[in-house]
């Protein structure tokens, strides 16, 4: 696979109540966003452990995103407070593992923010296109 035909593979962990519904809204509103993202639904962004994100990179994902409810909107009251504390630490430590921190995105997307969801995926895909494929790094 040459870098001209390179399409980044993105795995997104989306909370069931806000971001997953936001993605749904983007679809229902016929908004366009790159097909590079595959969504994995989790009950709450607090369910996503840092190990799971690392494991996803290990499996060859070029980018990983964790999307959750805005602070105060969590269906489980404070589940996303944990995400808010955990994910910045993970992002800061990614460089240490040899993975570019830009490959990881963590953001709040509400159920009403279909547009924001589409934009986020668009921007994230653009960012990843500028980076070499993860597969090369894993093999090299």
């Amino acid at each position: 696979m040459t870098s001209e035909t390179y399409e980044p593979k993105i795995i997104g962990f989306l909370c069931n109540w806000c971001s997953y519904a936001g993605a749904d809204l983007a679809g229902a509103s016929r908004l366009k966003y790159p097909p590079n993202l595959k969504i994995i639904r989790v009950p709450c962004s607090g369910r996503v452990s840092p190990e799971l994100v690392i494991r996803t990179f290990q499996e060859g994902a070029d980018g990983v995103m964790v999307l959750g409810c805005h602070i105060g909107d969590c269906h489980y009251s404070t589940g996303n407070h944990r995400t808010a504390r955990r994910m910045p630490v993970l992002k800061a430590l990614l460089a240490f593992t040899g993975i570019e921190p830009e490959r990881f995105l963590f953001k709040w997307v509400a159920a009403s923010e279909g547009g924001l969801f589409a934009e986020t995926v668009q921007e994230f895909t653009e960012t990843l296109r500028r980076l070499p494929p993860m597969q090369e790094a894993l093999e090299g």
């Binding site: 035909t5 595959k38 994995i40 989790v42 009950p43 369910r47 494991r55 969590c74 589940g79």
Partner: protein, 456 residues
């Protein structure tokens, strides 16, 4: 209150404190400390002879807000339910100096028991309603209004007691000297409320009670009454009509929040920017009444922790949903009602109390609760007992088993968010239907689908 006291299915535990709550909906165990009244509740008939005979008079800081006196053996107020008095051991002559016992001598049923001690009760309940009410804002905190410094600055509750026929002044509204009737009165709204320095929220009840006070003090004294307000909030059935009535009664409404009160020429001068005139004015009056706001109970945080519920940014107990579920909390089986949840007036509190009771009754009628299917489960072989999951759980659904030093998920409380699973450093907590294995398999499948997509 009388009805609650008499009801065969209601056990009233007054002068008692909840010390510990364990368990979950349908199976709560509550440990209650019943404080020693020094009066045997079984024997006492509530005749009040002890109160009459007690020689020790104490300033009543609670019900009469410092204006009146009570005895060392007393009931908080005349209509208190149950009508059983309590001995205030800090002021009782027997407890202070070791002799007196007049109450014991005169009690016709021998109910006085100086050796009574606190008792601990353990009760099993299915649901809990927390209705712990509010605290009154301390007007001393706003020093520019001079409460505590100028004798003739009163709080609304003090005037409320003065207006009561059985109150400390027998219903007369007088200045602090106890004799002079005021000829002009200023009522200042929003004391402690709608103020970034104290409480940003509106206390909701003050506008209406200020109007009521204006009506009553004018009726008692014939004084000229000024109301200083930011916005007049008279939403509610027949409330706006009452406001109109006060306007007809020639109450003077001044739109503006007073900046300060100063003692000048034997009067209290209210300095305020009249927003309708657009300029500073000075209003000299004989008496100023501060309409103090409502604030969360001083121990609300501790009470919340005890019952496994939470407080919002202002300190009121947090409801499950502000619009759709205002009496339930995030903890199943624990409900909230009245001002503990936020400032509200009597009709709202009554409605909310009834709503909470109805919610509990529906639980009792059902006889069972719906549990979440996708709950977390702890593998005790893997758990190292760090306790991190106990702290992360938004529902206090994880308990720490002290004997085995492992965490345990109470399935009845678990809502299946998986925050514990994401937190557990030793991977001992698994969220059913969202296990690591399942998510990784899903992620691999997604990845291979994308490889095909890219290849095409």
């Amino acid at each position: 209150m009388m009805d609650a006291g008499r009801h065969p299915n209601i056990t009233l535990l007054t002068y008692s404190e909840v010390e510990e709550v364990s368990g979950y909906v349908g199976n709560f165990t509550v440990r209650i400390r019943k404080r020693a009244r020094s009066v045997d509740e079984e024997k006492c008939t509530g005749c009040g002879t002890c109160e009459e005979k007690c020689p020790r008079r104490v300033v009543d800081e609670v019900f009469n807000v410092g204006l009146g006196k009570r005895k060392a053996i007393y009931r908080p107020f005349a209509q208190a339910v149950p009508a059983i008095p309590v001995i205030d051991r800090e002021h009782c002559l027997y407890f202070m100096k070791g002799r007196c016992k007049l109450c014991e001598k005169f009690c016709p049923t021998g109910a006085i028991d100086f050796d009574q001690e606190d008792t601990i009760l353990e009760v099993e309940v299915g649901n809990i309603i927390v209705a712990t009410g509010y605290d009154v804002f301390d007007a001393r905190r706003i020093s520019q209004y001079g409460y505590g410094r100028y004798p003739d600055v009163f709080t609304s509750l003090e005037v409320e007691r003065m207006l009561s026929g059985s109150g400390p002044t027998s219903g007369r509204v007088v200045l602090r000297d106890g004799e002079t009737e005021p000829e002009s009165i200023a009522i200042i709204h929003c004391v402690g409320s709608r103020d970034e320095n104290y409480h940003p929220y509106c206390s909701k009840v003050c506008c209406m009670y200020s109007l009521k006070l204006a009506h009553l003090v004018h009726g008692k004294t014939g004084a000229r009454v000024y109301e200083f307000y930011i916005d007049m909030r008279t939403g509610g059935k027949a409330y706006e009509e009452f406001y109109k009535r006060l306007q007809r009664e020639k109450t003077i409404f001044i739109n503006g929040r007073p900046s300060e009160i100063l003692a000048e020429d034997g009067k209290l001068a209210i300095y305020v920017e009249d927003r309708s005139l657009g300029r500073q004015i000075r209003v000299p009056v004989d008496m100023a009444i501060l309409s103090v706001g409502l604030e969360p109970r001083h121990d609300a945080q501790e009470v919340a922790r005890l019952f496994g519920i939470s407080c919002d940014a202002d300190g009121w107990f947090k409801e499950k949903h502000p619009k759709l579920d205002p009496v339930a909390t995030l903890t199943d089986g624990v409900f909230i009602a009245g001002c503990a949840q936020g400032p509200r007036d009597i009709p709202d509190s009554v409605a909310q109390g009834a709503a909470a009771a109805a919610r509990v009754l529906s639980f009792i009628r059902q006889g069972e609760v719906e549990a979440e299917a996708a709950t977390a489960v702890v593998d005790e072989m893997m758990c190292v007992g760090c306790g991190q999951c106990v702290q992360t759980c938004p529902y206090t659904a994880i308990e720490f088993l002290d004997d085995r030093k492992v965490a345990h998920v109470v399935e009845a409380l678990c809502k299946g968010c998986g925050t514990c699973t994401g937190t557990c450093p030793s991977k001992a907590v698994t969220l059913r239907h969202f296990t690591d294995r399942q998510l990784i398999a899903e992620m691999r499948g997604a990845m291979s689908a994308m490889v095909e997509m890219v290849a095409v």
